[in-house]
Symmetry: C2
Subunit: 189 residues, 2 copies
């Protein structure tokens, strides 16, 4: 996706530890028009796929997910990183955060992810694939069909894609980073 | 806002401690079309106000905020509840969560909230107004002009509005709950 790649090269910032900061347009400040373009591109790529629900994880996945849901007229569910006191009947799984070097839980109410669902998962980043693994597990627990996963940015050198493809799930990324070595952003053409 | 009030009466659930759960269409599962309608109503109410940025707090405020940003073609910034390791120059304030009975920090990068900004804040709930107070403080720190605050649901009996109005900030809520006594939702007509 050309407009996204240009934006990453222009406004993305590299940090020690292969961190790519895109908080000018995705992660903290968000460009709603870019989010709409991202949603349209996901819709195009999954044009021949039957979907009845979009899922994401709070917080940075919500913007592209709600745009997709709006354009497709589908409900959007975001997995929570904390268990609300009022949620009783839920699906829960552990996710290891490589960046933070600790485990956390993600939860979805059983009411909003069921065996009737054909789910597309959307998120901002694919890195080691730990969050994706968590979502694959939640869908398996629910008996829901995970028809695909879509990421705005994939850090290919962290190999998260292999986890998704091994699970037999289709994976689409709109910008693929080959390397961040020496704090230089190298995109796949 | 009629469609929202009807939805709250139909799908909202009451819990001990004056908790209103709206996780079928706002807080966990989201209805993107309702979010668009909510955004349009905020735009209508603030039609005569000059705004150059929408701000919100992760996570449930992001959906209405991004819809507003999209319709108005304005950037959206969400305050974070955790300090990212890559964020150095930031505005920070403490917020007391009544529900969780503890304090947490909210942060916005100095880069994305400045004295040039005329900011509209959007969030899902107005209760005791502690988050709103935090946002008023962040805007004051930045020298930004906070032109208004918009909430999807206001729990009037928790009096958060008085904090906002005392600060001289306009406050608009799309559905106002008078009481949740005996787990009955009583809306203001």
């Amino acid at each position: 996706m050309k407009v996204l790649c240009e934006r990453i090269l222009k406004e993305g910032k590299c940090f020690e530890g292969s961190i790519l900061k895109v908080d000018k347009f995705i992660n903290h400040q968000m460009d709603p028009n870019l989010m709409k373009q991202i949603a349209v591109e996901f819709i195009r790529r999954y044009a021949s796929t039957e979907i009845n629900k979009i899922i994401t994880i709070e917080a940075s996945g919500i913007a592209p997910a709600i745009m997709m849901g709006f354009l497709l007229d589908l409900p959007v569910v975001f997995a929570k990183k904390k268990t609300p006191s009022t949620m009783s009947d839920m699906l829960i799984t552990k996710v290891f955060s490589f960046t933070k070097q600790r485990e956390y839980n993600i939860v979805i109410s059983k009411e909003y992810l069921t065996k009737e669902d054909k789910v597309l998962f959307v998120d901002d980043f694919l890195a080691y694939g730990n969050a994706a693994k968590g979502i694959i597990d939640l869908c398996a627990q629910a008996g829901a069909e995970l028809v695909g996963m879509g990421f705005i940015i994939e850090k290919a050198f962290q190999h998260g894609r292999s986890i998704i493809e091994k699970a037999g799930v289709r994976c689409e990324s709109l910008a693929i980073i080959e390397s961040l070595e020496n704090c230089k952003i190298k995109l796949r053409r």
